[in-house]
Each structure stands twice: as C-alpha cells, then as structure tokens.
C-alpha cells in the first residue's frame, strides 16, 4: 500500500501518488471524516432544537 518514494523531485504530491491507495486515503481523511463530524454536530443541533 505504501511504497518507497522514488520520484525524481521530492514533493508532497509525488508522495501521494506512490501507491494505489495513498491518494484515496488522504482524500477520505480530508473530506469524508470532517463530513462525518459535521453530520453528528448537525444531528446534535437538531435534537437540541426539538
């Protein structure tokens, strides 16, 4: 899943592109986890409003 960095110039995006799942995991961490957090926050807010 994580492969050694072999690109010619070191770069964060180069690192993201080294393995098949690295980009996916990164984007899910950045996009989906906060959405889950927002979901529970909004759920709590709706429950409190009731």
């Amino acid at each position: 899943m994580f492969e050694p960095f072999v690109d010619v110039n070191p770069s964060f995006f180069g690192w993201l592109n080294q393995g098949p799942l690295t980009l996916t995991i990164f984007l899910h961490t950045l996009v989906v986890l906060p959405m889950i957090f927002i979901y529970y926050q909004e759920k709590k807010r709706l429950e409190n409003e009731k």
Binding site: P4, S11, F12, V31, M35, I38, E42, K43, L46
Partner: protein, 217 residues
C-alpha cells in the same frame, strides 16, 4: 411531529459543500505552485554539477543523452552526460542553445506537429510519438535513417528527413512535406533532443523495452 433528519437538513449539506470546495481549492492552488517548481527548467550549472532536474537546461543539447532503466523507479529515465557531444559540429553557449530551442518550439507550433504526432502526452497518435524520438535507434549510427538520408550523424539525418519527409519511405502514412527550412529543421532537432532529455516518469510507457527501441531486444 416526526424528527427532522440530518439528510434533509439544508445546513448539513451547505457546511459539507463549503468544506469540500474549500479543501479542493486549497489542494489545487497548492498543486499549481508545486507543479511550477517541478516543470521549471534547470540551469547550465545544474547540468555541469550533475543536479537532476525534471526539465534540464537548453544546453543539454551539448551532452550525450541516453535512456536507461532505473530499477528503483521501475521505468527508464534519461541519462544526461557526463560525456559531451557536439551538436551540429559545435558546442552551443547558453544563449545560443536557449534561442535555438525557442525557435524549435515555435517551429513545432507553426508546423503543427501535434496534428499527427504526440509531444509529452499532447497531440495525436496518427504518426509516431515524438517525446523520445531523439533516442529512437533508427536514427543512431548504423541505423536505417542515416543510411537512407546519406548523412553520417543523427542530427544531420533528422534535418535531411524533416526538410523532405515525403522522399523517404518511413511509414505507411508518410509525412507530408511541410516546407520546413534548414534553420527550422536544425531548431526542431534541438527541440526534439531537449524533449528526450526531460524526465517524464517513464512516459511513453515501455518505450525503452519496445522492439528495437533504445536497449530493447
């Protein structure tokens, strides 16, 4: 009253959309600046000191360019120098090389090479991919193109071909005569040699292992 679902709540979608758009914007702006660093041209000093840049300086035309398999990276990478080689019988200064390369780029656009060929992934596949054309063994010493054009160097053979491509039976779909002048042809060959020296992460894939290409068997 039934409990309101989060899924039908406007605020949840608005906050999610704001978050995703924000993250994507930051990533794309960051990627743009990162790419600018990656594709910026190296300098003559980089070439002399053996610094690896993805896009080398125009004076790369003064060096021998080879294509060797890098087992760590899993594909071929351009090997520049350290041996120097004369280009059209001379070594070019930084200014001369930059001017020649610029002329070559303009000529490639004026003659619309990409209408048929592919350059660095852009263009068509009607005619052969030119990204690594400089490394094509057909043009090397002892290759068919030098014999066909009656020239004894790779660059002279390429110039002879480019000026009268319709005279040489190279391909089923023969290249038409585009009225390329001698100066334009010299500049185009410099453009092709520089392009072959660009580290394209192994693109076009398997070029070095193709039948008859570079070190392929």
């Amino acid at each position: 009253m039934a409990q309101k679902s989060v899924w039908s709540d406007n605020r949840f979608w608005r906050r999610s959309a704001t978050w995703v758009t924000g993250v994507a914007s930051v990533l794309l702006i960051w990627l743009t600046f990162d790419t600018m660093g990656q594709i910026s041209m190296g300098t003559d000093a980089d070439l002399k000191n053996g610094v690896t840049k993805r896009v080398p300086a125009p004076t790369v035309i003064n060096y021998k360019v080879d294509y060797v398999f890098d087992s760590r990276r899993g594909h071929e990478v351009p090997k520049i120098g350290p041996e120097k080689e004369k280009f059209f019988g001379k070594f070019w200064s930084e200014e001369e090389a930059a001017a020649l390369l610029h002329k070559g780029k303009l000529a490639s656009q004026a003659k619309n090479c990409m209408d048929c060929h592919t350059l660095l992934g852009n263009g068509a596949y009607f005619a052969p991919d030119l990204t690594k054309a400089w490394l094509d063994p057909a043009w090397q010493d002892g290759g068919t193109m030098q014999a066909m054009t009656g020239k004894n160097s790779k660059e002279e053979a390429m110039v002879a071909f480019l000026m009268n491509p319709d005279q040489y039976p190279t391909h089923e779909r023969m290249m038409p005569n585009l009225g390329i002048t001698h100066d334009e042809a010299v500049a185009l060959v410099a453009f092709l040699k520089h392009m072959a020296s660009i580290d394209t992460n192994g693109f076009p894939r398997n070029f070095g292992r193709m039948q008859g290409a570079v070190h392929g068997k």
